[in-house]
Symmetry: C2
Subunit: 360 residues, 2 copies
């Protein structure tokens, strides 16, 4: 598939320099079509009978297999969820941490991880890495470990600056459980989730899926309590609620997931070209270079597909101005920064428009 063919799949690119996959990715025609076809089928044929339920299970298993392929792990270690936040809640509720336990995280995490960390009951130790060189992150994080540390919970790619975190090295060096928030990594950069204990996936961002579906890799399902059971997570259940969990990580599956969304996601997952990561990396580097000529770019080179920079003026107002000029980016509240998301679909023209749109 050529770059032009890829661009043509995403109608939004005809209208906008769409640089917002860190929030929601662009939708492809085939994705919308699969959603609409499934909806039409459900409308006409109803949502019942054997074919319907067989289709539902086939869609779930299809998505599970593809997410496993992306993460480089076996399919039976993937749970299907609604979101990364839900994945974080599943892990943190299941670990049964107490006030004597410590969890280490960074100072640049998303509420979807932070909320579940807070309610886990553990003491949360926040390590400052966001405003420091990426090369220091490993020492800073590993240096914060104490005998009470039970878990390291952090993003693979920080949603604020796009800084890549040394999640694999951390696990090797500390030997501790590592929960990785993969919202800004899966689909954006190559991922080997097998180097973590828990790894979350957001399907609506870099995987360009319908909103909202997610995944959760659990390396050792027997060691995590099923804290949020659903109809789909149990093999059998007694009248008092005691249950036999499903095999593997299917025991962490969320409940019913929408068939149109699953169908759309399956289409989206099958569309991405082989050169996705290489091209996205190049786009991000070019974005850095262009912005660096005019602004302070806080993202270091060769991190990920997010590029954050300090514009000459109010970031929130400039994000609105950019939208009016046909460029979709976001501001990072409280920081004065703007963030551009570069995908494998991003053109040089998109980046030129970005620079122009945020200039006063």
């Amino acid at each position: 598939m050529t770059f032009e063919e890829v661009r043509a799949q995403f109608p939004v690119l005809e209208r906008f320099a769409y640089l917002n996959a860190g929030t929601m990715g662009p939708l492809a025609r085939a994705t919308a079509q699969a959603m609409t076809e499934r909806t039409q089928l459900d409308l006409e044929q109803g949502r019942g009978g054997k074919p319907y339920f067989e289709a539902m299970f086939a869609l779930r298993e299809g998505v599970r297999e593809r997410l496993a392929g992306l993460l480089g792990v076996p399919a039976d270690r993937i749970a299907l969820t609604n979101s990364t936040s839900e994945g974080c809640n599943i892990v943190l509720a299941g670990l049964d941490l107490g006030p004597e336990d410590e969890v280490i995280t960074t100072d640049a995490e998303h509420p979807g991880l932070l909320g579940p960390l807070h309610v886990s009951g553990a003491r949360v130790r926040v390590v400052e890495v966001g405003a420091h060189p990426a090369a220091e992150a490993l020492d800073r994080l590993a240096g914060a470990v104490t005998p009470r540390t039970k878990l390291l919970a952090l993003s693979h790619v920080l949603w604020t600056t796009g800084q890549a975190m040394p999640v694999h090295e951390l696990r090797e060096q500390t030997g501790l459980l590592v929960l990785v928030d993969g919202a800004q990594s899966v689909g954006a950069i190559p991922v080997e989730a097998g180097n973590a204990d828990f790894y979350t996936v957001s399907c609506q961002k870099w995987l360009c899926g319908p909103d909202p579906l997610g995944g959760l890799y659990v390396a050792d399902p027997e060691r995590l309590r099923v804290a949020l059971p659903t109809y789909f997570s149990v093999q059998s259940i007694e009248p008092d609620g005691s249950f036999v969990p499903k095999e593997g990580s299917l025991r962490f599956d969320s409940g019913w997931l929408a068939l149109p969304s699953l169908a759309g996601l399956l289409a989206a997952l099958d569309l991405a070209p082989e050169w996705r990561f290489e091209r996205a990396r190049q786009s991000a580097e070019r974005c850095r270079e262009l912005l660096s000529q005019r602004f302070e770019v806080v993202t270091e080179p060769n991190q990920s597909t997010l590029v954050s920079f300090r514009p000459d003026g109010d970031a929130a107002e400039l994000a609105v101005q950019a939208y009016e000029r046909g460029v979709v980016i976001r501001d990072l509240p409280g920081t004065g920064l703007l963030r551009a998301s570069c995908g494998y679909w991003t053109s040089d023209g998109d980046l030129d428009r970005l620079v122009e749109a945020v200039s006063i």
Copy 2:
């Protein structure tokens, strides 16, 4: 709106005697159209910028207000969820019950409630009501209360037999907290959720919404811990995850919900005619009468919109046979029973087809 106009909204009724709303309701043309239009908009205009996020919040609040209206409670006491199961997990994880606490439930609950009950840590006492006269349920349940009982958790309408449970009387008589699984009641029978402490809603069943969305009524949000926080449930959050919850029951909101699904649900909620409950009740009574002439009907008169009966043969095989004959019903595994779901859209012709389809 006339009965014929209502029927014409649901294309599946042209093909099937669709008697399966207890699992998934029929979809209306307007519902599918709203989903498709929103998907098309997201495809072409992208999922970013102020108009997109404003639309998302407007859809959420629109659904919240309509669900509140259906339950007869203030909108700020409704949380938006993905499902009844998620609502049960939100409540049971937030109550912080321990092994000294008892929860009373019935012997005919759905895994979506039973799983969360089991993992709550409380002792689950199962009261047999499913095979007993509905009039005995109140005494049986209230009689099981002990000084350790902290919660009564049960369906308003049992998903197995359609028996209506005396949830309001139970709360009055015991003074205990009551969690009501409303999966088979909201949209099927009139509901006053204000008589419960927690009340769940399934939108994809009797409300004919897209799969899957739900609601949760929480009467006193200050008294339930936010155990499963999301980006949407917090007003503000600190780097260590400590947060200020949203006002009212919005603090229990699930994460991102799909815009196409919310748009479809809003359309579905606006379609139901005023005479929905009266007509559904009549359909269920007629269904009982017709089936009683040939089979043992286990559902008592004047319960709800579900009618369960014992066919002359294997229930699972007969459900398949019925589907092949254009009638969508379900069997209840392990019981030998078939279950028909009667809605305000059900015609006498549908019911005649049902009797014929399950006859050997």
